[in-house]
């Protein structure tokens, strides 16, 4: 029994990575109906920026702020940088093609993705980079029969705090209501005096920032990062957001967590080599029987 529980907790850890990245996809999709293919690369760029801060600034930062201070500094630096990068990409790659519709925007997004990925390769080199070992002391904690590492607990804690904050912003504040209204019906929302521009800027700041924070957590968890990893995480996270119902923010969180747990259980009880196949089959089955995802609402087709 405790093996299953441990697997579920491992799954939740990975799932929270997927969920945080999926939020970026889902928010942009909700507001613009645009699949932001560059989002996976925001995540990678965040991971590399965090790596740079931790490797090259670690001595200085830990001397002044202690170890936790250094990690916080990396998270904040990567988050803020990526918020700025997100704004730039929106301005340069997406805004000019909004009037043209969604398919040209897809090509533009893929172009932005290629650009970012190769920019990372040019700046940091094509090889794998390794995060410094044991940034967070490698302490094992035992609850009954279940073993957890301190790192895992920190990751889960931070992820749930971030997701909780976002949930609060989107579901409980006035600005959140504006975001949801925009996602629901943009035209009416703008007639009601909602500033669509502000909403777009918000999703393009917050999404990449969340991606960057996730990038650093992935770096600390797996310790190895590469410039192409954005694709894999991007596909998984996008899958997660569709699983939960794309455009729906609690749906993206739920989809990510479910995907992570399914992947871990599939790896443990079916076959590690076939775990991704298992995940995609579940996704296809969910969509066959619930074509708009788990939390997605059914909308009548307008004629």
């Amino acid at each position: 029994m405790h093996v299953i529980l441990e697997q579920i907790i491992n799954g939740l850890t990975i799932g929270s990575f997927y969920a945080l990245i999926a939020l970026g996809y889902s928010m942009v999709y909700g507001v613009l109906k645009l699949i932001n293919f560059a989002h996976g690369d925001f995540f990678t760029l965040g991971s590399y920026l965090g790596y740079t801060v931790l490797v090259f600034g670690a001595a200085l930062l830990t001397a002044h702020f202690g170890l936790w201070g250094a990690i916080m500094a990396a998270l904040v630096f990567a988050g803020v940088s990526l918020a700025i990068v997100g704004l730039i990409v929106e301005r340069v790659a997406y805004r000019p093609v909004y009037p043209a519709g969604r398919l040209p925007a897809v090509v533009s997004a893929l172009g932005a993705s290629i650009f970012l990925q190769n920019a990372i390769m040019v700046l940091w080199g094509p090889r794998f980079q390794a995060y410094p070992p044991a940034l967070i002391p490698n302490v094992r904690i035992q609850f009954g029969n279940i073993h957890l590492t301190l790192l895992q607990i920190m990751i889960l804690l931070l992820s749930f705090v971030l997701m909780g904050t976002l949930y609060y912003i989107v579901q409980k504040t006035t600005f959140g209501a504006a975001i949801r209204a925009t996602a629901h019906d943009r035209k009416t929302a703008s007639l009601m005096g909602i500033n669509i521009n502000k909403v777009i800027l918000f999703v393009f700041t917050l999404g990449p920032a969340l991606g960057a924070v996730t990038g650093i957590m992935v770096g600390m968890y797996y310790r190895q990062i590469s410039f192409t990893m954005g694709w894999n995480y991007g596909i998984k996270a996008f899958t997660a957001s569709v699983l939960g119902g794309i455009g729906n923010i609690p749906g993206a969180m739920l989809g990510g967590l479910i995907l992570g747990v399914l992947e871990m259980l599939g790896a443990a009880y079916i076959s590690a080599a076939w775990k991704d196949v298992f995940v995609f089959i579940i996704l296809i089955l969910v969509l066959i029987f619930r074509p708009t995802g788990i939390l997605g609402e059914k909308r009548a087709e307008k004629v």
Partner: protein, 333 residues
């Protein structure tokens, strides 16, 4: 105004037949002027054109978002590779068989999901493409050779007197197939089927109301697109003499998607231009080494800014684009 004899030449020069004749002549002369390296580049340009044409049926004609097209391509290539290396069946016999295998696969996997709309279809096809690739890596029944793939695929041959084994012969093989495909697809565009496809793309509800069985037509598009991708897989496998899963990644599907959109949805000349961009650009910019993909990405963004409808959009039955911002009154965008 006085009619000059030159006007007749001018009219002839702008005629469609002349353009096609000129293009054909260039294609026939080109391989005799350049080295094998450039003939091979033109071969891969041909493969990309065929793949672009195959996805153009699904995405361009019917407007179905298919981001897993590399899966069909892989089925074609692996059908050829496995049947040829295990049973020694000749490549040219496998050409229709690979098309059939890919078409059958498309029919089986697309039937249950064909009712999905827009992005949900996109993610399902993406998932299918990934499932195919992952399955190939995992080597089911010891058939696909895992991550290393299958080696030692034959050259296509018509008995002993015609063996296609040089770059030049492969060049003519692929462009012959592309030429025939273009002929067929041009006829198809003006047929009842082509018009039904475009109708579904523009307004599926109205198409249904007018008695078009949209489900069957959409499946037909997938089956035909997959069959063509299977043909491309067959030629590709025999040219490379080996196939491995890394040739059929999600990235390949994305490139095919870009070929169709850069050229212009549903436009056959557009597909050729898109394939030229995707296939030739990285080669031409090879001197820029590691910066070439940066240039490539920027070029994709620039193209969509200046020619959002594609470089050579289709004139009749062109696709209408709706602004992402709807009528929000944003004028700065």
């Amino acid at each position: 105004m006085e009619q000059t004899p030159l006007a007749g030449i001018g009219r002839l020069a702008s005629s469609r037949q002349l353009h096609i004749a000129l293009a054909t002549a260039v294609f026939l002369i080109y391989p005799f002027l350049v080295s094998d390296y450039f003939i091979d580049i033109a071969f891969y340009f041909g493969i990309y054109t065929l793949l672009g044409l195959s996805l153009n049926i699904v995405l361009g004609e019917v407007g179905l978002f298919d981001l897993g097209h590399a899966g069909f391509y892989a089925i074609g290539a692996y059908t050829t590779a496995i049947l040829n290396t295990k049973f020694g069946i000749p490549i040219l016999v496998l050409l229709p068989l690979s098309a059939l295998a890919a078409a059958l696969f498309a029919y089986v996997v697309c039937s249950p999901v064909i009712h999905l709309q827009g992005d949900y279809l996109l993610i399902v096809t993406l998932g299918m493409g990934e499932i195919v690739r992952l399955a190939l890596i995992n080597n089911p029944f010891d058939l696909t050779g895992g991550p290393n793939g299958v080696y030692g695929i034959d050259f296509p041959s018509l008995g002993p007197w015609l063996v296609i084994d040089s770059s030049l012969e492969y060049y003519f093989l692929i462009w012959l197939i592309v030429g025939l495909t273009i002929l067929g697809l041009t006829k198809l565009q003006d047929s009842r089927i082509g018009r039904a496809w475009n109708y579904i793309r523009e307004d599926e509800t109205a198409a249904n109301a007018n008695g078009i069985d949209s489900r069957s037509y959409k499946l037909l598009a997938f089956v035909m697109g997959a069959a063509l991708a299977g043909v491309a897989g067959n030629v590709y496998a025999s040219k490379l003499m080996c196939v491995s899963p890394e040739s059929f990644t999600f990235w390949e599907s994305c490139l095919m998607f870009c070929i169709v959109l850069i050229g212009g949805m549903g436009s056959i000349p557009g597909v050729i231009i898109g394939a030229a961009f995707i296939g030739l650009f990285p080669e031409i910019f090879r001197p820029f080494a590691m910066y070439r993909m940066l240039i490539f990405g920027s070029a994709m963004m620039l193209m969509m800014m200046f020619r959002p409808g594609g470089v050579w959009p289709r004139k009749r039955g062109a696709v209408k684009y709706e602004s992402l911002l709807g009528g929000t009154g944003r004028t700065d965008a």
